[in-house]
Symmetry: C2
Subunit: 242 residues, 2 copies
């Protein structure tokens, strides 16, 4: 049973679950987050059947789960569509995410043990490398950077001890990641991501909860405003792929 790794919600074995419904869920989830399936795109079962080589029953079950996640919109008797990207929703999403992430980080700093510190250090090390590579080679944000970023933020909160906080956080993280990946990221060079991440890691390892929470909040806010700015050029997309 290979663990292919896609987004981050480490709950499912992803794209290879025990049942076809789980597999469909994982693959569709990844495809939606990475914008392989565009926002607003209609998700007709017949079409998906041939794309993923999976029957209609597991596909429908996967859609219902995705709708519950907020990645897919289920309209009465009009089928399913990929959830649209709405700047207002992202602002809201970011707010909720910040609330949860800050609390989880605070708890992690309170309760984290040596193994947790090691995880944070390791994730921070990877992140620093990816940040450096990103700032050198401007332009496209590679998957490896997204993985490192998810990994670092997950490591930071991984000792919070609350399965539910982590679950909620994971869902919100994935939703936000979709917004991030869909945007152009033109101003990513203007930020010193390496410094931002390093500051968060340092404050965390120093067990300075107040500072770490403040930094995380600013970190998220900066991403949000960068996203809002980059949207001024490209309007919100709401296509209908045939």
């Amino acid at each position: 049973m290979k663990t292919e790794r896609y987004a981050e919600t480490g709950e499912q074995d992803v794209a290879d679950g025990a049942t076809l419904a789980d597999a469909a869920y994982g693959r569709l989830r990844r495809d939606i987050i990475t914008s392989v399936r565009a926002p607003g795109e209609r998700l007709r079962i017949e079409k998906l059947k041939s794309i993923y080589q999976i029957g209609p029953t597991p596909l429908r079950e996967a859609m219902q789960k995705l709708a519950q996640d907020g990645l897919v919109v289920s309209e009465g008797n009009r089928g399913f569509t990929v959830a649209p990207l709405d700047p207002a929703e992202f602002k809201d999403l970011n707010l909720a995410r910040t609330v949860i992430e800050k609390e989880a980080l605070r708890l992690s700093i309170e309760q984290g043990d040596d193994a947790w510190e090691a995880r944070v250090v390791a994730a921070g090390y990877i992140m620093a490398k990816e940040d450096a590579a990103l700032m050198k080679a401007q332009g496209h944000v590679p998957d490896s950077w997204e993985r490192a970023n998810s990994g670092l933020h997950l490591a930071l909160v991984s000792a919070c001890g609350s399965a539910w906080l982590l679950k909620l956080r994971g869902g919100l993280h994935d939703l936000c990641e979709r917004y991030r990946r869909a945007s152009v990221y033109q101003k990513i060079g203007a930020r010193d991501l390496t410094a931002e991440h390093a500051a968060i890691v340092d404050a965390t390892l120093a067990r300075n909860a107040d500072l770490a929470c403040r930094l995380i909040e600013e970190h998220f806010a900066l991403t949000a405003s960068a996203l809002a700015a980059s949207r001024e050029n490209a309007g919100t997309v709401e296509r209908d792929k045939k």
Copy 2:
């Protein structure tokens, strides 16, 4: 299209959605929250088919959504069961819920308008009556009290302006309500619920966010400890209904 009202998550039209899958979801959800379906109970599609008079396809879709909510556990190729009641999970649940509810309350107090104040006053009025009735007639907690309680807490946070905070809050509220309804509530008389609720309403209307949040936190903590205490008599249930 009658809006039958069940728990509180006002998202679905409940038990009467446009599609049978939605209807099944709403009815099962209500039945699980109200402990009509006992924790740990196996949910065999064949059985549910005859109970709810709905085919297997929409039933399975409903189960997947419920599994996503955390009300149902989906095990590999071994079908579905009602999620067990685990004291440790309730503690965790309560923690996450408190975090979100406090933030939503704070935002509501910041942004709430006159209509919101009116909603809080109205919900507080109903709640006071139900609290009084409950303390007089000890024992069973009626549905009308649960409705009033849900209504009050929803009214309090309803002006927070964040759809996602409200959505997350709703899900956690329902999960917590199941724990509450499943427990014996023997010590409910020891608490002056009327006073607790009144204090929260007063602090909220006075726009005293810090006090209101503190009171809400205590309110939830008291419920949690009362629940933990009442469990000492009756052990955790994990039945297997044939």
